[in-house]
């Protein structure tokens, strides 16, 4: 098993005929993702360059293909609309790649789309290696295995996965949840799924300064996942307080949100925190053998 997606997951792509959408659709197809079609209003009935059917509306796409998952590549002003449309059409899982969506749009969407899990926005998506990939992750870096990974960063995720793979740790599912202040799926949401996943035997959490998601995750682990080997990393440990570095979410506010606060919370939950990405495999090796 894996979480959120497996090899049978049917996916549509919103914004499939745009340059990003089209490019990453090719990459996902190459990886083996079951892409059932795409949506571009006004191009219904056409075929994409990949030979996939294009639909005018998500409803049409869902009716025709039975897709449950969507991957959204539409520009920021139209992203909330794309999410609302997906929800209204019965999509239950949406990966929103778009960066720069107004935070109030995101607030409205997450508050009013019950029953639809949203990954992101401003995220690289997720992958269950060897099975399926939704988003923009470079599939070749990943390898099937039993380590689950959740990360607020994109490129840092690839970095960490590359290190894991080289050290002999394959992955069950890797989720890039995005670094914005308001995101659809948090660390805890992912942990809840990993806790019930038979394939996942260990976890790596890549957090970041700002917010209190890592603290919440630590509390959840302490209470619900005492047996699971988990290693954490916090990006931005050397960032000075009061500065916002790229990720809108990475703003330190009060005691919560500092690297210190997050490290303390993880350590109190029995989760070692790596001082650099390259230290992660070693810490993992102390708790679970490689090539699992």
């Amino acid at each position: 098993m894996s979480i959120f997606l497996d090899k049978n997951t049917k996916v549509i792509v919103q914004g499939i005929t745009g340059s990003e959408g089209s490019y990453h659709t090719s990459r996902m197809l190459e990886y083996g993702t079951k892409i059932a079609g795409g949506v571009t209003p006004g191009k219904g009935g056409q075929k994409t360059e990949h030979g996939l059917p294009v639909f005018d509306t998500v409803r049409d796409a869902v009716d025709a293909t039975g897709a449950t998952h969507t991957c959204i590549f539409v520009p920021p002003p139209f992203a909330a609309d794309a999410l609302f449309e997906a929800h209204d059409a019965g999509i239950t899982f949406a990966v929103c790649i778009t960066e720069g969506i107004p935070v109030h749009d995101v607030l409205r969407v997450v508050a009013t789309t019950p029953g639809m899990r949203i990954i992101g926005p401003n995220c690289p998506g997720l992958i269950s290696p060897g099975k399926s990939l939704i988003g923009i992750m470079p599939g070749h870096v990943f390898k099937e295995g039993s380590v689950g990974l959740v990360s607020r960063s994109g490129t840092l995720t690839y970095e960490v996965v590359d290190l894991l793979t080289r050290a002999g740790y394959g992955q069950s599912t890797c989720v890039g949840i995005g670094g914005d202040p308001i995101i659809g799926t948090t660390f805890v949401d992912c942990l809840r799924e990993f806790a019930n996943d038979s394939q996942t035997e260990a976890l790596v959490l890549c957090g970041e300064i700002g917010g209190s998601d890592e603290e919440d995750a630590a509390a959840f682990i302490r209470e619900h996942m005492p047996g699971m080997p988990i290693v954490a990393f916090i990006g931005g440990m050397n960032a000075p307080p009061g500065k916002s570095l790229g990720h809108a979410g990475a703003i330190i506010s009060g005691a919560f949100g500092t690297a210190q606060s997050k490290i303390a919370a993880f350590e109190a939950a029995g989760v070692p925190v790596a001082d650099r990405p390259s230290a992660i495999p070693g810490l993992l090796a102390q708790r679970v053998p490689a090539t699992v």
């Binding site: 935070v103 923009i136 490129t155 970095e159």
Partner: protein, 387 residues
Amino acid sequence: MNLMEYQGKELFRRAGIPVPRGYHAAAPARAAELATPDVPEWVVKAQVLMGGRGKAGKVKFAKSPDDVASVAEEIMATPMPPNRQNPKGERVNSVLVEEKLPIVKEAYCAIAIDRTTKRPVIMVSRFGGMDIEEVSEKHPESIAKFFVDTAIGYSPFIGRELAFQAELDPGYRKAFPAIVGGIYELFFRYGAKLIEINPLVLTSDGRVMASDAKVELDDDALYKNPEFKEWQETLPLDEDEALAAQAGLGTRNFRRFDGNVGTIANGAGLAMATMDAVRNAGGNFANFLDVGGGANAERVRNCYELVVNHTGAKVMFINIFGGITRCDEVAKGIVEALNTTKSRKVPLVIRLTGTNEEQGRKILADAKMTPVETMDQGAARAVELAA
């Protein structure tokens, strides 16, 4: 984007939030000209984004139009005193002149976004006119909060409950729910991340008014209100933001620090990790720089020049992990950038892996550049070269 007080108050007026009678002036003479004699006393306030105006002597009283002119002159004569983020201080380009209010109480009222509940949170305290962080330390119980369900929106009972819970003076009660409704409306209408009234004053004649206004707009939502483009042009950027904007980067994509190892990485997370790696290797980073997606030659050159021209970098560590960004494009960018730049040259340490890695390495090899294998190796090598 943070607004100046006078801009925030313009928004307050649109939402019916009472603000003191007053006007904005960019020159002392103009300030005097607009001062009508029917107001017994004026307060003249520097319009700056930096905090601590009062302590810096940039808020002063005046009793006549002549007085207004001389006080404004004095305020505008010198910049705000520098702090860590603004090492040169901030020039005072204009003042807000307002009737002095007969204040009897000062309260605090703000709306912001709470990450954990994913809801707007309204915060109210009876301790106004002071730093809210200080209030939250000294009187945490005094801060009443309400997490608004955006599907329902604001309803006046929320303001009533907050006023009772925060034990605001009864004089606030009648006006308060509409004022909170006003900031909630502005919050959504203009896509704000923070709206703060501190202090919200009660006057001896029973008026409730926003004596100050702090508004932070969501940069990602500015396109919805084209007028904000004009406002933005009047606002000072801090130097790092201005440099980032000139280089075609987002204002949050570049920050300078004191070290001598320049860094360029793709993705904020990797850029932060790159800084951490430099520190772990015993060095000091000169900057944070997230080159963003789609790093073409022009972009890479701009980033390179930004770092070498504006930091103390003695070496440049370029750390790319290709996802959306393709390594071949970055490699092309690096080669072209180095060939075309007129800025000073510093030794390069390149780490390039991920999407189209092979092609990228080939391009670098053709240009006689040899990338390192890992981030740690790259950081170590860069620190060594900078020593």
